[in-house]
């Protein structure tokens, strides 16, 4: 038998089996610990808040009485803010990332920009809130509106989107670029037709990670002075008469789900705490849906790239 003939090899194989086993056990333990923490959190939120989620909760404005309060203005606010944030941060971030990676000359200026963009990703979010309060709200006199909320969150996640875009663009094999330049493409054609489609899954992941971060942000929104009690909805973006869309909602005051949660948690009545837990669950659900959508898109993009 082999093991008798190759005792030294057999010893190495046995040792490597032990090594692999140790690492596998370690890995599973760590994974289970992480999952357990998450599961505990979710289970706790669910036991507190799941029963509170019903149609009344989703379609009511905040109220003095916990049982008749709802999160209508908060989820509408969050959705609209996310729209503004995505609309601003994704094109700007992707554009900047592509420029830095494909167009910008490589010298000390771009190095400085690169380091600073990475640093911006680590700036505490309340600093962005202060910037927005001083510049957008007072400096430009824009007030505490959905537009400003979306803008500050867009600023906040811009570095995340830029860094993700750069990474994704950089990981496109240089052979693809060479073959595109080889058939006579100019830089824009290379980027638009070949590099960007190949980088799309990575860019998308970065964008979703950024938006998932933005959806839970409270500090900058509080800093710019978002209201915590709103009993009306912003004007509808769609209307019956021409031109059928309007952008008045951008200038409307707003609240968002994390602020609503924060507000409820600081109340003494237990009923509001239940409301806060229910809001937390819904916020988690929204993030989950966003991530699920990203996974779905990525899967489809990968498939279409291969064919």
């Amino acid at each position: 038998m082999a093991d008798a003939l190759h005792t030294s090899e057999a010893r190495i194989v046995a040792a490597s089996r032990v090594q692999d086993m140790v690492f596998a056990v370690l890995g599973i333990t760590v994974l289970l610990m992480a999952m357990a923490v998450l599961a505990t959190l979710v289970a706790d939120l669910m036991s507190d808040g799941l029963a509170r989620i019903d149609q009344q909760f989703l379609t009511s404005f905040p109220s003095r009485r916990p049982e008749s309060a709802g999160i209508l203005s908060a989820w509408v606010g969050t959705t609209l803010i996310m729209l503004v944030t995505a609309f601003l941060a994704i094109p700007l971030g992707v554009g900047a990332g592509i420029y830095l990676e494909e167009y910008a000359p490589k010298h000390w200026m771009t190095d400085v920009i690169e380091i600073n963009v990475s640093n911006l990703a680590g700036v505490p979010s309340i600093i962005y809130g202060l910037l927005a309060l001083g510049f957008f709200v007072y400096g430009l006199g824009m007030g505490q509106t959905i537009l400003v909320g979306g803008m500050v969150l867009a600023l906040l996640i811009l570095p995340i989107v830029i860094v993700a875009t750069r990474e994704a663009v950089r990981s496109v094999p240089s052979g693809l670029r060479e073959s595109a330049y080889g058939v006579g493409c100019n830089r824009w054609q290379v980027v638009w037709r070949y590099v960007l489609p190949a980088a799309r899954p990575g860019i998308l992941t970065g964008a979703i990670v950024g938006l998932s971060r933005a959806i839970g942000e409270t500090a900058p929104i509080i800093t710019i002075g978002a209201l915590t009690f709103i009993a009306f909805l912003p004007p509808s973006p769609i209307q019956a008469t021409a031109p059928f869309v309007n952008f008045d909602w951008l200038n409307s005051p707003f609240t968002v789900m994390p602020i609503q949660m924060f507000n409820w948690i600081s109340r003494p009545q237990a009923g509001f705490h239940v409301n806060a837990a229910a809001t937390g669950l819904l916020l988690l659900l929204m993030t989950l849906v966003m991530n699920g959508f990203a996974i779905f898109l990525r899967y489809h993009l990968r498939r279409s790239l291969r064919s």
């Binding site: 038998m1 082999a2 003939l5 190759h6 030294s8 057999a10 190495i12 194989v13 490597s16």
Partner: protein, 261 residues
Amino acid sequence: MLTAPEGPHVLRAEVKSLKFWYGKFQALHGVNMPIWDRQVTAIIGPSGCGKSTLLRCFNRIHDLYPGIRYEGEVNLAPEGVNLVDRQIDPIMVRLLVGMVFQKPNPFPKSIFENVAAGLYVRGIKNRSELEGRVETALRQAALWDEVKDRLPKPAYELSGGQQQRLCIARALAPQPKLLLLDEPTSALDPIATARIEELIDELVKDVTIVIVTHNMAQAARISHQTAFMHLGSLVEFGDTGTIFTNPQAAQTQDYVTGRFG
């Protein structure tokens, strides 16, 4: 063309009714062939014929990918180990069988550490033993004179041909029972290719070599035995001289004369 060494052939390995599947696709349909000790066995055939698939069975590199299945045997003689037996750990197989790939793939480490990689894995820590075996392997790979003064330098500083010889040295250092070469010169220029071919001539005095090649002239130049494969089956196996000048199968004839493939 090399003439086989005098005397009876000694078996170093034997492939017996080897079948192989990638998922549902059967890539090998019962291959039988001997690998003679200290001879060069070349596997030739058109793209997609299964020659690389066959070679990669010898060190179970296939096992890195999901959904693969072996049936049959690749017996190492005289040890009598069936390399594709599920009971045999693939790590064990790779400790016994060395491989060099199509593109030079040195590790992003120093020249010395590249050659010593397989020795570290085998638990050799003694500095002087390591140095001795690295030198031996580099000499065997005809690279020693070019790199002896810069062993601590990154392997990426070497040229493509040197990198490939470094990979050969890396595979040789642990003294494998078999050395597998998967189109080792397809990424190299003719001069680097010629050096590798000379090297194979030298090496085969000590180690058994199985080589996959697209280049029929190369197979004719450097191998003692040639296996011609087509559509996952072994069409013909024999002395390289016979395969190239007097093949038995019409398919082999067409292929080696350049009429198809």
